[in-house]
Symmetry: C2
Amino acid sequence: MARKTSGVSRREESLSRERIIEASIELLDKSGESGLTFRALSERLATGPGALYWHIANKSDLLTAACDAIVALTMNALLLDASPKAIIRTLALSLFDAIDAHPWVGSALTLAPGQVPMMRIVERLGQQIRALGVPSGEQWAAASALLNYILGVGGRNAANGQLARMRGLDRSEFLDAVSEIWSQLDPEEYPFARSMAGQMRAHDDRADFLAGIELILGGIDSLPRRGEGVSGV
Amino acid sequence: MARKTSGVSRREESLSRERIIEASIELLDKSGESGLTFRALSERLATGPGALYWHIANKSDLLTAACDAIVALTMNALLLDASPKAIIRTLALSLFDAIDAHPWVGSALTLAPGQVPMMRIVERLGQQIRALGVPSGEQWAAASALLNYILGVGGRNAANGQLARMRGLDRSEFLDAVSEIWSQLDPEEYPFARSMAGQMRAHDDRADFLAGIELILGGIDSLPRRGEGVSGV
DNA sequence: ACCTGAACACCGTTCAAGT
DNA sequence: ACCTGAACACCGTTCAAGT
């Protein structure tokens, strides 16, 4: 079936899984996770809540599908003709940016272990780990470390974003608030946090994220290596 | 009315924040995150839902407080007279085990960025990073990498646990199911995941978790170091 | 000060009934 | 096959009223 492009005119298009997911993403982007309800969604699609259940199994299925739409786009946009490490960095940063643009993706990923969106990421990561020449017995640990780190940052970013949104703060106001709280902690009990308070105000989440990726890549570098790594080509 | 459900009878004690948190933890441990409702909680405490609001602000506050009770116990039980790396490993494993025993802690941590429980972890981690001699400009990135990795694993563990519980599977049945799914993926599209399917069945989450910590520690090792490291003892 | 519990404004999900 | 929308069984939270 040949389908028309665009189609913001929801007048006569009939309901479909794709249209529901598309509308869900709009809702999630506009109002966050709490904004996605069957009532809001059915209103936006000019139908009843029950109609949605003809096309999707339940809310969890819907959220995962919306998440997968973003993740698939992100993974498929990757340029794969670079060194394994470069691809890993790009993959990580692309995901970081995608979660930054769609904070709900961070928690949706956490909520859907083993589902398609996660597998897309695992697979892409794993292939690069392999290409790095990591022995097969340690490939999973290496891929898993990167995955968990990325998901950890994603989840935290999502939570921070939601918190900031709730309080009506932009990123720099939010960092100022965090810095302020940290600087007022008890210096006996929280010497480290206090000493970091100043840095918090000006720090770059994205750069810190990449620094963490580098740490893990550095650790992978120091693993015993199989012969056929990249450098030898 | 015969008797209360098993040995949880606290007959005449009056309501208090501590008792509410204690009962919340029992509920969360028994029935997971969805088990914690104000109705179930007030029934268990033989009171009305409204009474709880005299002692706690809202559900988010309650979940964070329950989470903090576990995290505080875990952090305070750490033996601090070991090398920084050893302390970091112990801290990470203790948290892993705590989240394994109380899966809801994993997602509660993610949901409460910058709250007390998270700060306890950041602080303990940061102090060890400092003790490792990491230059102050990179301490945050290092602490943050460990924290995000730990939270990432925690969140995933929580999600896996909930999934397994929902389907009534124990850990080994769950791993079998994952392995089965992975082994049936399209070999063209998912070569890495397929090749890992066998390992999945027998793998040890805890060991993999620790391997990830080692990778990050290895990366930290290869950072340029200040003079006063541990090795000199 | 602390507790009660009905009431409010929501949820996700179901299902008989329509086309 | 697909959609409607009222109804069901829940939620978190509030608040007048009690002690």
